[in-house]
């Protein structure tokens, strides 16, 4: 079940340069939501028609609170960053499928790159097994580090080498000899491509959360497709809707 909800902002903070953490009250969405799903956030400026898709970073099922962590990238997210406690935002969600949680992996490896780090926080809470998180950052500004460390062992990579492994997430995986039976990842396409290749090489399962420009966010407009290996049951051609059939796909299902 999807809901449109007028969510009240409880708190907003800039947790890193241009990266904002937003806590909202959204009972219906929070009740139904799971890690790896996202919400559509609507702008109040009516000249921006399309919703901004933002991943669920944290859920507090008891109090109906939802956390979004986003980068102020363009006009829409900049607008959101200007709101504070008591202001409201229109949301639709929860959207998409979320990460698979019941596959029985013993040592899942959660990998987030840049603004793909936030969804790993809630995933680390829900996923059973002995969890490791690898987060890739630009520099030693390791946003969400504490939250990630609560439910998993955390390794980091930084582009400038100022913390953890110098390089990218794969460098951190190799340097620390991290062993795993399944990868769960969200981040930029080159990172996802590299992880897909790494998982294939290691013969392990791999789930990737993808991004694409969206208009409807609910599977109606076919804006957000990715290329699939086989003919998709819904579209009847070789592509899948990221907003509806994803954003999480088994790596072997899709072409990157």
């Amino acid at each position: 079940m999807k809901y449109r909800e007028t969510a009240v902002i409880l708190e907003q903070r800039e947790i890193s340069e241009n990266i904002y953490s937003l806590w909202l009250h959204a009972d219906d969405i929070v009740r139904e939501a799971r890690p790896g799903q996202f919400v559509s956030v609507y702008c109040q400026d009516e000249s921006r028609l399309l919703p901004r898709p933002i991943s669920i970073c944290e859920l507090d099922k008891e109090s109906g609170r939802l956390r979004l962590v986003y980068r102020a990238a363009g006009a829409g997210t900049q607008e959101f960053s200007g709101y504070g406690p008591g202001d409201t935002l229109e949301l639709v969600g929860p959207l998409g499928n979320g990460f698979p949680l019941d596959k029985g992996y013993e040592k899942p490896l959660l990998v987030g790159g840049g603004i793909g780090v936030p969804p790993m926080v809630e995933l680390a809470k829900w996923l059973p097994g002995e969890k490791t998180v690898v987060s890739g950052y630009r520099n030693s500004d390791l946003f969400l580090k504490e939250e990630l460390s609560r439910n998993a062992v955390l390794y980091v990579s930084t582009e400038d080498g100022s913390a953890g492994t110098k390089g990218n997430v794969l460098d951190a995986i190799r340097e620390n000899h991290l062993e795993t039976d399944a990868i769960f990842a969200c981040g930029p396409s080159p990172m996802l491509r590299a992880l897909k290749a790494y998982a294939a090489e290691q013969g392990i399962d791999c789930y990737l959360s993808l991004e694409e420009r969206m208009a409807c966010g609910i599977g109606a407009c076919l804006a957000c497709v990715c290329t699939s290996k086989d003919i998709d049951a819904h579209t009847n051609v070789k592509n899948k809707r990221i907003c509806k059939d994803g954003p999480v796909f088994a790596a072997e299902e899709i072409e990157l």
């Binding site: 009516e46 694409e212 599977g219 009847n236």
Partner: protein
Amino acid sequence: MMNMSVNLAGVEFKNPVMTASGTFGSSAEYGEFYDLGCLGAVVTKGVANVPWPGNPVPRIAETKSGMLNAIGLQNPGIDVFIKRDLPLLKKYDTKIIVNVCGKTVEDYCEVVERLSDQPVDMLEINVSCPNVKEGGIAFGQKPDALEAITKEVKRHAKQPVIMKLSPNVTDITEMARAAEAGGADVLSLINTITGMKIDIHRRTFAIANKTGGMSGPAVKPVAVRMVYQVAHAVSLPIIGMGGIMNGDDAMEFILAGASAVSVGTANFANPFAAKETAEGIRAYMEKYQVEDIRDLIGAVE
């Protein structure tokens, strides 16, 4: 008793609000938010004789008060449409209009024929999609070609035929007259206006197809003008669309001469937009104590 129902080519719609083709999926997606029985009709995504894979991504871009799309008429093909999508649509207490696309006259006629014994109330022929390289738009930009394809489609069609007009022409009334001469029962307009957006930071096109069809509130004044012109050029009923966000927007089209309206891009900005448009028209009628919506069609001369 207030009357909101309209009759187009012998088909009775409980109210004049429809969904615009391609923006409402197979309808089940919006059926999760509200009962589609509150709409006059749902109009499906364009369906072709065979599956179409559509264009590469990015397929859409936001523009000020509008958007560009180049989906490329991705569709699962008529077989899957009839077997899977149509039965789902039948669940709702609303009329069904199937939007038809093709590359050749034969493609269009094949789809139209396949639908002849199906529970479909009307056919909307998309001869005006600017996002597909072959066919399509050519029929929508040359009066002779439009008249010819309208005639052919009419020969094969069991249901009333709506010809959907492209705004990407010099004189929309010439096209409207051609469709009328070909035997069209209803006209719908406007389809999207060809546009372009450049990403100055990446120094490339915002949409992989380079050009895309513009829709949303930014195109509304153009659409209202064209509906007005067509209403004065032909005697066919018109379904007006282009940037309708609410009941007030819909009223502009109705007063300009549209018998019905479609809500498209607005569904993306608000999943309840089509429902709220129908409610907004009712509120307008109550406010001005209008008994019959038909008294307002084309009331601004």
